[in-house]
């Protein structure tokens, strides 16, 4: 689209945000694994889609589960991009981004808060996670808390592995999980 339209849409985004009509803003960030889709509500980061995930399907899903008032707002993700870039280059160990947990409830929410607390470079097992979330027999559900984690990377589900030492699965592919753990110099 032309420059006049770009300016109009930028103004529209600003006014929509000012009037409380921008329920979800989305943009992209680069990663060594391909482009990431980032989505934010006024409360914080609500969704990170890995390169393996379908962008349209992700946005339609957010429209259904949160609100269809969704606008592309590439200029609203500078901080996220900076922190992700620092992380991928090994300069950052923790993200300092507000998180909107509204896509997680009950056991899933507790499990994902548990994931968020795993320190950089360390791993926990799916059983650890289940126990920490208050139901040590819910190992399979702990697996879902990881595989369907709406905010991967920032909520580091790649740090959850199998008790037998296997890496387990990853929404972005096992290779990505392996490389992330290598990047962090995994200490087990």
């Amino acid at each position: 689209m032309n420059a006049v339209m770009d300016r109009s849409l930028e103004r529209l985004r600003e006014r929509a945000a000012a009037e409380g009509l921008l329920d979800i803003a989305y943009g992209t960030a680069d990663s060594p694994f391909g482009p990431l889709l980032l989505a934010r509500t006024p409360a914080g980061l609500v969704r990170v889609a890995l390169p393996s995930e379908d962008v349209d399907a992700t946005l339609f899903d957010l429209a259904e589960r949160i609100s269809p008032r969704i606008l592309e707002a590439p200029d609203r993700f500078d901080e996220e991009r900076r922190e992700l870039e620092d992380y991928f280059e090994g300069r950052r160990r923790e993200f300092d981004l507000p998180i909107d947990w509204q896509l997680s409830h009950g056991f899933m929410l507790r499990a994902r808060e548990g994931i968020a607390a795993i320190p950089y470079g360390e791993t926990r097992t799916y059983s650890d996670l289940a126990r920490g979330a208050g139901n040590e027999r819910a190992v399979r559900a702990a697996g879902s808390a990881c595989s369907r984690n709406p905010i991967p990377l920032v909520v580091p589900c790649h740090r959850v592995v199998r008790s037998d030492g296997g890496l387990g699965l990853y929404a972005g592919g096992v290779e990505m999980k392996k490389r992330l753990l290598e990047l962090e110099g995994r200490r087990g």
Binding site: M1, M5, S8, L9, R11, L12, R15, A16, E19, L21, I24, Y26, L59, F60, L62, A63, E64, S67, P68, R69, I70, L71, E72
Partner: protein, 154 residues
């Protein structure tokens, strides 16, 4: 029931046309503000639509209401328009871009009359009220505008 798509999809698919309609209706200078008002109003009402049916017609209907607001605000309408249609207009089936570009080159009165008639689906009396002229004058503007368009598009 079709789910509502992310609002950005409506912008990607229809923003250019809505802008063209508004340029036709209120001129280049007023179009930017009317465009903002159109999409803000649409965004505000969007979740309450419930289902995705003829979203393009819905947007064009809002655009024409905003065009009328624009003309009213400029004091050209002594008579309030009472019966603006609230439901979506039926999808006109134009090779749209081209037609609206031609509409945009018409003189202001003709341009507004043509747009209100065909994008807004307003009868002559309401076009007259929106433009602040007599129904005869509205009819004449529409007639002249269409004559010129036909020549242009031929």
């Amino acid at each position: 029931m079709a789910e509502l798509p992310p609002f950005q999809k409506l912008i990607d698919e229809h923003a250019a046309e809505v802008m063209a309609v508004l340029r036709g209706a209120v001129g280049r200078d007023g179009a930017e503000d009317a465009f903002q008002e159109t999409f803000l109003a649409a965004l505000r009402a969007y979740p309450s639509l419930g289902e995705a049916r003829n979203l393009r017609g819905w947007l064009v209907t809002i655009a024409h209401r905003k065009a009328i607001d624009h003309h009213r605000a400029r004091g050209r309408s002594p008579v309030p328009v009472e019966s603006v249609r609230e439901e979506a207009v039926s999808d006109p089936d134009p090779a749209d871009g081209e037609v609206w570009r031609a509409v945009a080159t018409l003189p202001p009165k003709q341009r507004a009359a043509v747009t209100l008639r065909f994008a807004g689906d307003l009868p002559h009396e309401e076009i007259a009220a929106a433009l602040g002229c007599s129904p005869e004058a509205a009819r004449r503007s529409l007639h002249e505008g269409l004559k010129r368009l036909r020549k242009e598009m031929a």
